[in-house]
């Protein structure tokens, strides 16, 4: 009768198909063109990497009082070391550094608490979005509880960079949501106001907006009413990124199936209820990667405040390189700045990719 079917055993692939040699052959030397490319790439690596390592590590000087101490011919990290505090905190008085550190630690702890299941997310969000900024502001600026007042003009370095980035993104998110909703509205005036705003802002370079914020806003205010330059720049940055954010969020809103809107309507939810309870939570989740990308862009763009006379991380480094004691250390300064910006931006982009992947699997069954 029927013959029983036993699958033949799987054999390991022949040695020329797997393993290191096969890999090298397939990936590096599979054709004459590839051989050429491999050799060429190796040559480039040879040209770039060993000298870079030599410069950055082997021949580097790590401590010293001025450029004169750097005699080894390599990188003069002593420059970065001696200016390190300024790069981090700007001209913030060194006795008060703890205030910035404390605020930073608080933020990390608060955000970290999201991972803990037992914590009430609602309260935590309120703590982060409402309470924390107030606390942080008074910590930074001082003026109460006997904290010494620190002028915003002294704020600088990575501290200022981070501040601009975080405030910019947090403030632009709600504004972006409103603009995005407005742009999708079927009320013609609301829609055109939003479209005009979004498109105008996106059409011009950030530098012009910063310029407006730093020199023009006061001209538009009544005599005597005036506010801090940092605040004006923050407003400029926020409006700028809100326009970009609006477009990202609009993408998310468009991706929500029409059925969701209809189901919410059919249940009798009002417009704002259905937006806040049903649509936005889904839309925002969808566009987290886009939001992170906007943030990365914004974070890089905060360097432009240097052009309007604020000293963020890059600005502090740039002006430190003009110090007579350290002339000729520009490369080290930029390398250091590059390292910090790269770690943060690259880290965030990887994070957003991870989130994307996680959300991808989290939504599907079968």
């Amino acid at each position: 009768m029927a013959i029983e079917f036993k699958p033949s055993p799987s054999l390991p692939p022949p040695s020329n198909a797997v393993g290191a040699t096969a890999w090298i052959k397939n990936n590096l030397f599979s054709s004459p063109l590839n051989i050429f490319l491999t050799v060429f790439s190796l040559y480039i690596v040879y040209l770039l990497v060993p000298p870079a390592i030599q410069w950055a590590f082997i021949d580097a000087t790590w401590s010293g009082e001025s450029k004169a101490a750097c005699t080894a011919g390599g990188a003069c990290w002593a420059f970065v070391a001696s200016y390190f505090d300024q790069f981090m905190y700007g001209l913030y008085p060194s006795a008060e550094y703890w205030r910035i550190n404390l605020a930073a630690i608080m933020l990390v702890v608060l955000v970290g608490m999201f991972a803990i299941k037992a914590v009430n997310k609602m309260l935590l969000s309120i703590a982060i979005i409402v309470v924390y900024p107030v606390v942080a502001y008074f910590l930074f600026a001082g003026g109460i509880f006997g904290l010494e007042i620190v002028e915003t003009s002294l704020w600088g370095g990575l501290f200022l960079t981070t501040l601009l980035g975080i405030v910019g993104i947090v403030a632009s998110l709600p504004l972006g949501v409103v603009l995005a909703l407005g742009r999708r509205s079927n009320m013609p005036i609301v829609k055109s106001v939003c479209v005009v705003f979004i498109e105008t802002v996106r059409a011009v370079p950030l530098i012009t907006i910063l310029f407006m914020a730093s020199v023009m806003i006061p001209l538009f205010l009544p005599d005597g009413l005036n506010f801090n330059k940092l605040l004006r720049v923050l407003i400029g940055i926020t409006l700028f990124s809100a326009a970009y954010m609006a477009e990202v969020i609009r993408g998310g809103l468009q991706a929500i199936p029409k059925g969701q809107y209809e189901a919410a309507d059919a249940m009798g939810l009002t417009y704002w209820q259905s937006m806040i309870l049903v649509i936005l939570p889904q839309a925002l989740k969808l566009v987290i990667p886009g939001i992170v990308n906007t943030f990365i862009g914004l974070f890089k763009d905060t360097t432009l405040v240097y052009i309007v006379g604020m000293f963020d991380l890059l600005g502090r480094i740039q002006s430190a390189t003009h110090d007579a004691n350290w002339l000729g250390t520009t490369a080290e300064g930029y390398a250091f700045a590059g390292f910090i910006y790269w770690v943060i931006c690259f880290g965030m982009s990887r994070y957003s990719m991870a989130v994307e992947r996680k959300l991808d699997t989290g939504h599907k069954r079968n």
Binding site: N26, N27, L28, S30, N34, L37, T38, S41, L42, I44, V45, M187, P188, I189, V190, V193, E199, T200, R202, A203, V204, P205, L206, I207, T208, F211, M212, V215, M216, L219, F220, L221, P222, D223, I296, K300, D301, T302, T303, L304, Y306, I307, L314, Q318, T321, G328, T330, A331, Y334, A337, G338, Y341, W342, C345, F346, S349
Partner: protein, 390 residues
């Protein structure tokens, strides 16, 4: 039955009325804020005695501009200076776009390369440049790399080319009388090669054989033009750069400000374009390649006729927005002494004349126009190229 109808429609409960009212309020608020700002502006300008208007554009500027493609002297007007700056912006944008595209395509393809090493190197390039602020990169090229170049007296000499801190010097061609002949020759070869392409198409329809018309045309144009050049008696002489007391003198010079902005813009944008190119190519499903292969098409033809045309549809829209970004980012040139729009108009002109509203407005207008025209192009292109579906 009509007694059932509850006519409790108070004004505010009517959806249509609500929308109208809300919009009216918004309009009023926007106008009021606009008017308020405008009013303050006027009041402020008046109390401070600042004159308004664009009359200043006709006044002599009095300041020099490092790079000017059109005739410009210190005696020129602010209007002229504005024009010079605008041209500088356009120049750097166009050159940046060309270079960035070349870099982007090469790096995008390299990242897709089967060669592991090449793909890795491209990845490193892309991930490094994309994640660093552009301003930092400009500073790096201008302040760090520049400082490493030799002093003019120790220039790196390469025939008639010089390289030093002050820039790259090359012979400057001067066109003499007979040059019209060369131009004529150039046009003639172009006409000839168009003819060749048409002939090749016809021949294919007849016999089926392909003729490498594009390569041959290129050959005809290059060789033909060179031939005409010598026939006309070499009507170009060169103004050669030579070392002098301070600088290398004469010749044509690419100043470091220009080079730094160009390199920074194009390598930075190139990294973004590389990702767009890669995504575009990956968006063409592998099935397309397999289908082409199973029809016996060679990989080179497959790429050219199947993959590239489809990838381009995906690539062009984000590519245009990168071009737009590049044009906007060229404004950062202001930070390293490249005399583009922001530097000349919002920098020097604003400072010499104090016309903040006018100068900033002018700049925004230029960028706005630029963006608008690019998005018009985009919409047109999308409409033209979108795949026809049912």
């Amino acid at each position: 039955m009509s007694e059932n109808i509850k006519s409790n429609t108070s004004f505010l409960n009517d959806a249509g009325n609500r929308a109208l009212l809300f919009q009216a309020v918004l309009l009023v608020v926007v106008l009021a804020v606009g008017y308020y700002l405008f009013h303050n502006l006027q009041a402020n300008l008046q109390t401070q005695g600042i004159s308004t208007g664009f009359a200043f554009l006709n006044e002599p500027a009095g300041f020099p501009i490092l790079i000017h493609l059109i005739e410009y002297t210190e005696a020129g007007t602010y209007g002229r200076a504005f024009l010079v700056a605008l041209i500088n912006t356009i120049l750097i944008s166009l050159m940046g776009i060309v270079l960035a595209t070349i870099i982007g395509v090469i790096m995008g393809l390299a990242r897709l390369s089967q060669n592991w090493l090449v793909a890795r190197l491209a990845t490193v390039y892309i991930e490094t440049l994309r994640n660093l602020p552009l301003l930092l990169q400009m500073f790096f090229w201008y302040f760090a790399v520049l400082a490493a170049l030799p002093h003019p007296r120790d220039s790196i000499v390469f025939g008639d080319f010089f390289l030093n801190k002050r820039g790259i010097y090359s012979p400057n061609p001067i066109f003499e009388d007979g040059f019209g002949v060369v131009i004529f020759g150039f046009l003639a070869t172009i006409v000839a090669s168009i003819g060749l392409v048409i002939w090749a198409k016809k021949r294919q329809t007849r016999t089926g054989l392909w003729f490498p018309a594009y390569w041959s045309s290129l050959g005809i144009i290059v060789i033909g033009t060179i031939a005409f050049y010598f026939l006309a008696g070499s009507p170009i002489t060169f103004d050669l750069p030579e070392a002098s007391r301070f600088n290398v003198k004469g010749g044509m010079v690419l100043v470091p400000e220009f080079v730094a902005v160009l390199v920074a813009l194009s390598t930075y944008t190139g990294a973004f374009i590389a990702e767009i190119v890669r995504a575009g190519i990956l968006s063409v499903s592998w099935g397309q390649t397999e289908a082409a292969r199973s029809l016996g098409m060679r990989d080179s033809i497959t790429q050219r006729l199947i993959v590239l045309p489809q990838a381009l549809r995906v690539i062009i829209p984000p590519l245009t927005s990168q071009y737009l970004n590049l044009a906007k980012n060229s404004s950062l040139g202001a930070a390293i002494a490249y005399p583009e729009l922001v530097a000349v108009v919002m920098g020097t002109t604003l400072n010499q004349t104090g016309q903040a509203i006018e100068t900033i407005g002018l700049c925004m207008l230029v960028y706005g126009t630029l963006s608008l025209s690019i998005s018009f192009f985009m919409n047109w292109y999308n409409k033209k190229m979108s795949l026809i579906e049912r």
